[in-house]
């Protein structure tokens, strides 16, 4: 049986939660108050992740897709469980589209989409063959570099003196409404509530459930702080207006770095950061999708599923969005509402209630049986 260590779980959780937000920004709709959105989203995220962890405690030995059949019964639970691998597949397709738009707008302008998607998936599919242990180990190797690069860009940005704290003022100009609107469902789901997907691998971690809870929550706070730092830097660095209109705000910020005319044009830095986090997020999405398919179809080996799923991903990467505008519009206005609310909030909460009621009934029965004796 495959096993990953506690530290590897931490690394994968951070990569998964930071994901693409590092380059696309967070809560941009709230303008210069996006940092407040980040903080509230983090708090809501911690709450909802605790619920997921509690669910995993209530369903020992079962992964996310097995919770529903176990609690709702075979006939209702199975169709609900099937929704999740489909969602993971779709989200994988969305990440592929993020990659395709970033690389073709910024670095590889004349390269056709298909070439980028194909080569990216080639590596990801190979990783699927290697299994989660290898993905986790690669994450373990990349994580220090990833942190050093973020820290390095923070230092360079601070040294080049482009941050203007004035850009944060006035705070809460339009009141709490736009902040709450971009916190739920988008902010709290993006990265944070999305961590529900990690319930597919919690079983594989070689420690007690208590340690998993600790690690996951610590990782959530950690990635929340990372996001908060980048959001603060972007707003103070490029100002509210550009935060709203830039397609890739982090990229715009990093390319402003100019230290004595020597250290500048660090664009490649930002692209590298993005590619690393997008790579892990995509690998994990596809791994969870394949694992979900495998458990639900009761196929013996998940390897048989890698090629079909990769081919579907190529197709999704090609067809999910026809242009960047629509892609972002779906990400902000549609997708969180029509899929995430249902799958990441309503269904897990319903599951929690059903599980607790069933437990209560069971306990009551036990007590009654004991009383009878």
């Amino acid at each position: 049986m495959e096993r990953i260590s506690q530290y590897q779980l931490f690394v994968l959780t951070v990569f998964f939660q930071v994901g693409t937000t590092i380059i696309f920004g967070f809560g941009a709709a709230a303008g210069r108050d996006a940092w407040i959105v980040t903080i509230i989203s983090l708090l809501v995220g911690i709450f909802v992740i605790s619920i997921y962890l509690f669910l995993s405690y209530l369903n020992p030995g079962l992964t996310l897709v097995e919770w529903f059949p176990a609690q709702f019964g075979k006939w209702i639970g199975t169709p609900i469980a099937w929704l999740y691998p489909l969602l993971f597949l779709y989200e994988g397709g969305r990440i592929l589209n993020d990659i395709k738009y970033l690389t073709t707008t910024i670095i590889l302008v004349d390269t056709p989409f298909l070439a980028i998607i194909l080569f990216f998936l080639l590596v990801v599919a190979y990783l699927q063959y290697c299994g989660i242990e290898v993905i986790a180990r690669i994450g373990e190797i990349f994580f220090p570099y990833f942190l050093v690069m973020i820290l390095g860009s923070v230092v360079l940005i601070l040294v080049s003196d482009i941050l203007r704290v004035d850009n944060l003022l006035p705070v809460l100009k339009n009141g709490w409404k736009p902040i709450l609107a971009s916190t739920f469902p988008l902010g709290a789901s993006q990265g944070f509530a999305q961590s529900l997907e990690l319930a597919m691998i919690w079983l594989l971690v070689s420690t007690s459930h208590k340690e998993i809870v600790k690690t996951t929550l610590f990782a959530t706070v950690f990635s929340g702080l990372l996001i908060l730092i980048t959001v603060l830097m972007i707003i103070t660095g490029i100002g509210e207006f550009f935060y709203k209109i830039e397609s890739f705000p982090m990229f715009a910020l990093v390319s402003k770095v100019n230290i004595g005319g020597i250290i500048k044009n660090l664009d490649a830095f930002a692209v590298l950061l993005f590619i690393i986090s997008a790579f892990f997020k995509l690998s994990l999405h596809l791994f969870f999708a394949i694992r979900g398919f495998q458990i639900l179809t009761k196929v013996e080996s998940s390897r048989k599923l890698i090629i079909p799923i990769t081919i579907i991903s190529i197709y999704l990467g090609y067809s999910v969005s026809s242009n960047y505008e629509e892609h972002i519009k779906v990400a902000i206005e549609v997708f969180p509402y029509n899929l995430w609310i249902m799958l990441l909030w309503i269904l897990p909460f319903a599951l929690l209630i059903v599980t607790l009621i069933k437990r209560a009934i069971k306990n009551r029965k036990k007590e009654m049986a004991q009383a009878k004796e």
Binding site: M1, E2, T78, W82, T297, S301, R303
Partner: protein, 55 residues
């Protein structure tokens, strides 16, 4: 338009008919569930265990 509902994951359909995608996923997961049900309960846990070892 029936054609619109056949490819609900495409961005323009997500924007114009936001409900198409959940409906599609619901139907798809129902049909996929048939696979799960017909494969029955043939030693579910055992096969899972075996597969994990293989990986």
């Amino acid at each position: 338009m029936i054609k619109d509902w056949l490819f609900p994951w495409e961005s323009h359909i997500m924007i114009n008919h936001p409900l198409a995608m959940p409906v599609f996923m619901g139907i798809a997961s129902f049909f996929l569930s048939i696979v799960t049900w017909t494969r029955g309960n043939n030693n579910q846990n055992k096969s899972k265990q075996k597969d994990m070892d293989e990986n």
